[in-house]
């Protein structure tokens, strides 16, 4: 699948949130969407997922969403919302099963293919061991893995994930990023909103840096995570290092803060 966003603009409550965004997304690529709070990352992800009215055009394989239809697009694009609210205390497996709703026929029950997809998704996120527990009995990290499994269970061509690492401990953050990279390697496209620049630089094939509703940089992590970009967008300087033949960055100083910027 090829998603092309052209000249996207969004205003929420009269305030411009996104302006002049041009973005192309392909399958097989793990794209990290980074930027400071309020830069418009979530808004852009929702526009790409066809969840928000906007100016400009988003084309899915050169077709607008209207021509494809709600249900068909839902089978091709999976969306993992920020925050992970679950309003009823369903069992973990029942939550994951919600990912199969776009595949369900009216009045149809779950098929063996649905069951397999659910099982695969839960194994992939290491969530199978608590499939029978209710969501309120899980830790924040376990909960997030169930919700990630829900999105994977759609088995869509494109996975859009808004801060899937929130609330995960370091090991599960690493495992989640490894998993997303594996999803991309298997041929799907993944766009993930991240706050951790180190993980973004290490795992993503490509980074898109948003600042004040515009794309400040778009390209390979090395090019996007330059000092000038980071100081302009985040107001920080970073420490750089090298491990296992890979460069990494570590947020080090806030440029506003006299204490740390010494």
């Amino acid at each position: 699948m090829l998603i092309e966003a052209k000249d996207i603009a969004v205003a929420l409550g009269g305030k411009p949130v996104l302006r002049g965004i041009d973005l192309t997304l392909r399958t097989g690529e793990l794209v990290g969407l980074i930027g400071p709070n309020g830069a418009g990352k979530t808004t852009l992800l929702r526009v790409i997922a066809n969840l928000l009215p906007h100016a400009g055009a988003v084309l899915y394989d050169r077709e607008p969403a209207k021509a494809i239809g709600h249900k068909a697009l839902a089978r091709r694009i999976a969306f993992l919302a920020q925050g992970g609210a679950v309003h009823w205390q369903m069992r973990a497996e029942a939550v994951v099963a919600l990912g199969r709703l776009p595949h369900r026929r009216p009045l149809g029950e779950m098929t063996a293919a649905d069951q397999d997809a659910i099982a695969r998704a839960m194994l992939a996120t290491d969530a199978a061991s608590f499939r029978d527990r209710t969501l309120d009995s899980l830790s924040g990290g376990e909960r997030m893995r169930v919700l990630l499994a829900r999105a994977l269970a759609v088995e869509a061509e494109m996975l859009l994930a808004d801060e899937p690492l929130a609330g995960l401990d370091p090991r599960h953050q690493l495992e989640a990023m490894t998993l997303l990279r594996r999803v991309a390697a298997s041929g799907a496209g993944v766009v993930v909103v991240l706050h951790d620049l180190t993980l973004a630089g290490r795992f993503c094939d490509r980074l898109v840096l948003l600042d004040q509703g515009r794309i400040l940089a778009d390209g390979p992590p090395d090019a996007v995570l330059g000092d000038d970009h980071l100081s302009q967008a985040f107001g920080i300087s970073v420490a750089r290092g090298r491990r296992d033949g890979e460069d990494f960055v570590l947020p080090w100083h806030s440029l506003n803060d006299k204490e740390t910027a010494r």
Binding site: L51, H70, M90, L101, A119
Partner: protein, 341 residues
Amino acid sequence: MSAALDTPAALAPIAYWRLVLLLALATLAMAAVSLAIGYARLDLWAALADWLAGRQTLPALVLAELRLPRAVLGALVGFSLGMAGAAMQGLLRNPLAEPGILGISSAAAFGAVVVFYSGFAGAFALALPLGGIAGAMLAVLLLYGFIGRGAGTMTLILAGVAINSFAGAMTSLALNLAPNPYAALEIVFWLMGSLADRSLVHVWLVLPLMLLGWALLLSCAPALDGLTLGEDTARSLGFDLTWLRARLIGGAALSVGSAVAVTGAIGFVGLVVPHLLRPLIGHRPGRLLLVSGFGGAILTLAADTALRLLPIRPELKLGVVTALIGAPFLFSLIHRLRQEA
């Protein structure tokens, strides 16, 4: 892989349909009990035989004119209230959403009272349920306008208080302006909610409207499951939320509006029943609809049968009894939600 993760019982459709069947049978059984119990002794089989043969005997008349409408309406009204409660809870993602608490029932009652007054009720039979439906529709639209998306418990209850008091004030105004005190008294008693002294005409009047309402609500089952994860996720799963809201609002107004129009306001059924049954279907809002419908029918029939067995005369009104059971239940539910928050 699927051997390692075999289907557990709670996900299996068979267990769900077994529960539905069980509740349906229990509803039939409860309706039979309701038929058998009354102020006069009745040989049910003889009455049934007379009625079916078209013989105008006293037992046949008691069955057809008194017992049968009461049992059938009890089941229909209870089913409507139970299912509408489950549907509103699913839409608003809040276990306290219920037609009575949200003011839908009292708005429907106001709609029906307006029809009483204007004299339309005499002009054509459907006017009364249509008045109730219009009132219910107005309340749900108002409610949705009030709280928009993802309402917190507090907003929800406050919106209900506002709608309830407005509908109550308008109804009181109508009573205040009543042409004679007897008309006012008649309306006050009707407002309390009762299944007594209804006829099969009432059943035929509301049945099609209720069936349409139920069908609309049931068609929302998968989308209500999807809404568990919030509106964005539901839309990303391919559900058109505008269309979903229209169906839910229309379905709730049709079923609750016509129920209130023939029996008056019967509260709390839609609160108590979904809450009790939710654990049995794994908290899935879509599956709660049908199950709550039957549960509502059982509870309403049971309450209506119980009040005929109570040695209290004049007979207690059904709406009074359900409120006496439901209000403490609401207290305990709020208490528990506060502790969880």
